[in-house]
Symmetry: D2
Subunit: 300 residues, 4 copies
Amino acid sequence: MLTPDQLAEIDAARATPRPTLRAVSEGMEAHLYRAHPVLDHGFIRVIDYMGDDAAIVQAARVSYGAGTKHVQNDEGLIRYLMRHWHSTPFEMCEVKLHVKLPVFVARQWIRHRTANVNEYSARYSILDREFYIPAPEQLAAQSTVNNQGRGEVLTGEEAARVLDLLKSDANRAYDHYEAMLSQDGQQGLARELARMNLPANIYTQWYWKVDLHNLFHFLRLRADAHAQYEIRVYAEAIAACVKDWVPLAFAAFEDYRMGGVTLSGKAIAVLKRRLAGEAVTQEASGMSKGEWREFVEVWG
Amino acid sequence: MLTPDQLAEIDAARATPRPTLRAVSEGMEAHLYRAHPVLDHGFIRVIDYMGDDAAIVQAARVSYGAGTKHVQNDEGLIRYLMRHWHSTPFEMCEVKLHVKLPVFVARQWIRHRTANVNEYSARYSILDREFYIPAPEQLAAQSTVNNQGRGEVLTGEEAARVLDLLKSDANRAYDHYEAMLSQDGQQGLARELARMNLPANIYTQWYWKVDLHNLFHFLRLRADAHAQYEIRVYAEAIAACVKDWVPLAFAAFEDYRMGGVTLSGKAIAVLKRRLAGEAVTQEASGMSKGEWREFVEVWG
Amino acid sequence: MLTPDQLAEIDAARATPRPTLRAVSEGMEAHLYRAHPVLDHGFIRVIDYMGDDAAIVQAARVSYGAGTKHVQNDEGLIRYLMRHWHSTPFEMCEVKLHVKLPVFVARQWIRHRTANVNEYSARYSILDREFYIPAPEQLAAQSTVNNQGRGEVLTGEEAARVLDLLKSDANRAYDHYEAMLSQDGQQGLARELARMNLPANIYTQWYWKVDLHNLFHFLRLRADAHAQYEIRVYAEAIAACVKDWVPLAFAAFEDYRMGGVTLSGKAIAVLKRRLAGEAVTQEASGMSKGEWREFVEVWG
Amino acid sequence: MLTPDQLAEIDAARATPRPTLRAVSEGMEAHLYRAHPVLDHGFIRVIDYMGDDAAIVQAARVSYGAGTKHVQNDEGLIRYLMRHWHSTPFEMCEVKLHVKLPVFVARQWIRHRTANVNEYSARYSILDREFYIPAPEQLAAQSTVNNQGRGEVLTGEEAARVLDLLKSDANRAYDHYEAMLSQDGQQGLARELARMNLPANIYTQWYWKVDLHNLFHFLRLRADAHAQYEIRVYAEAIAACVKDWVPLAFAAFEDYRMGGVTLSGKAIAVLKRRLAGEAVTQEASGMSKGEWREFVEVWG
């Protein structure tokens, strides 16, 4: 995934700590620059970060010093802020990542607009021959109940055929990309044109910088069970770093966002009737069938 | 590009004007819903708009009525606002477009984040067999002076070979996309996975909504001679609509942004020395060679 | 609140409907330009809008025509989008308001950054002598349980004293503002300086443009019972217009956002135990006292 | 300006450097936490920062390591990026400030929306008795040529009268603020209401976090000679820190933005005619009188 040169650069960057007066998160320092593998050729790397749990508290209080020294107070305040949707204190932390990811994942990712991005330019440079090929256990059929999801894992000849098509098409497309670019005995097509032959499973990479509030929003949607597997694994790798970076904020996020649910007015009414001992049917709930199915998934 | 059914829908939408009390731009009404062709299978269509030249003036004045009735005053104020980088009055106009475009163009486009986007979902739906294949006069070699640009147009055998590769690879990729999706005698791969086999010249489409200030920023970068041809033609098609929508604002934009230049402190000093009759060389200018080359392109 | 001239301008703007091919919301046309009074001198006026319920559906489907004609389908899709936090289709509607409001309300309002604003400039122009003076039933004491809230209504001498101070200070500040600005026998202080003498209950006004998704976010926070009364009444006046503009989207918003609650993982666990017949105490809930109090407010 | 307790907290924060593997800017470390005084009671303090000049280069190259070690190459690339309006690499640096400022300055400042803000809450807390009173040399008359600007400095009795009004009104407003809040023998008005009596020259404070690209935009508008003096001095104090933080980027910003000008198409044409020896009048320039005046200010 990384070349020896790249690994050496990373080691060099990690070799020489320097003194700073800024807030330092020990948990995040351990991640800095290191590549966390994702999928077959991708990774996420933390390049830089700003702030820690105390910085959230400090901003919420617009304080002169470093916030209280009592972790318990900080935790209570952070949970309060999360519960009441106070977003600005969480915006006071920032993280910068280097991510290598397939183009079709990048296209989903970029829909989160409140972030800063520098992507490797295929107009300016030549992309590497690296494609995402799903592991056999990820080769799933179209879901029969959900237009936007996966069903059972493919097996046998069908699976073999799919893998073979994905691999051979990717390699042929890349061969032709190189053939069109080549200046050997010909002029060579412009890079900004040749790239159009490359499939959506080719890897790209970018620097991505985002504040903690918007990162939590990203994680809530993309580390969710309904997200496509290929972006979810990136979200999970990032979440593991965030947990080490701002443990109190992450715990509140897990409780209120990842582990929480939103109830509609109708759902509240049904639960109250149930708590009062009544058995409520879908028909009597006022909910549509889809809504009721989702409700029952959580509440039985 | 559009099916007879789609054209009939557009005609139907244009058939029945309804009364409104809102600001109306006659110039823009003429464009509504109509598809302006771009590239071989793409288009832009104006779906909706808010405001007109008078609305810019009205917002700048925070006024109760419809702004002055004297077009000349409106024009002067609009030019003043543009010259002095007052962005908020231009943000008071908004436009919504339906765009059909190749994926590699969409990837460049989406880097403009201050806009609203709904893209056709290849996770949910099946894409059509439509690919961008450059016209012969757009099949350019890599520039020899600019890493990020085009040189001469390819001709003869090389051109033929490139076109053949682009066409055959696109069709084979789509054949295999269909083969993997097929549920005929097999389960059929999930759509969210099968799409990864499709190349970057396949067409996608989206609804894109943006305010006039941010649209001008988009047009300045993308209707520029340095922009890639394939996005520039979209920018030009949009610019033609904007000109009919807000003619005064567009004229100011053309004069101050599209037709204007930004001079550095060093460039101002050189021009002043030239105006005083001095001949200034690159060495004496304090500019780098690249900077000087760009300076000379404008000023000789 | 409005001068006869301003009312005449509004009548003139409403007198002449013009034909348009755009989406039209009959409900919103009825509101256009009219001033809905808020507080003692404030108002909100709808100046323009883009889109309607069908436009949300149309964008969600990236469709060619006007979306389905079956209202039930549209309603179901809109509810689905709201329930699953799909924000981009709601961003496809936009509204522009003219608002007159006290400065301290404007300062809270502007914290919602994803909107476009043109405010009347006290640097450039002279503000009017109009101040917000609370109605007697809004003259509340500091809450004894909530640092950020109101308690009982003040009465008797204390209320009279407060009203007298607010009125006399505002008038004196404005007298001195005028005296400093006056060029009668003196040079007259710059407007950009003189304005610093004016209190936070003076009225300002602005044009505010926002998309429906971000407007819903604003309404959820500001039409909420915990919002300060003086901004809540603005949010309620806007909500009444939105209800007429996009009735289906507004109904979904009311059910899922205004009437809904978010449950943490801990709260879900407690409710499940209760549904199973168990009596759970705060100590056994894992929640803090504050969290438990908020939980009990909803669930008893 | 700062209490002994606050100064002690700042000294404590500066006393204990900790090791980090992140990019460190020595120039910025020297500023951390220290209060740079602005106006009579205000300040700016750098609370945290992310990145340095090398980080801009690294992001532009989407590189694995720390960018080139050749400062000259970095400088050339940074100047190139600035000249060609590449904004995203500059967005990869971030700074967090603690600012104490008069409310009327805060209201202008907040118009820059692409930033994160946590302001001290006058709904929750009680503001201090601190007001901005202009120094005598800043007590300027309204400009006679510019609706939005200052003319000559006031002197003598008029100046004395203005200072006296500003001071006495501020103090009376604060006395009454305290009187209304007091719970001594009365209930005490809610803080969220009492604050409305305070004038716009009272000091507030906030944490403000912004990326370098948007900070440059802020500085270009607010450190400009046309900005109001009271916000310009904040911009200048921040600029002095930025210069120490990212010296290469700041030098490029000074040359291309602060020291640069934008020429319209019309202005280019006039300059070219002048360079060819022609004397061009306003009438023959195609410019309005205002435009011509601004043109002549730069070019004579």
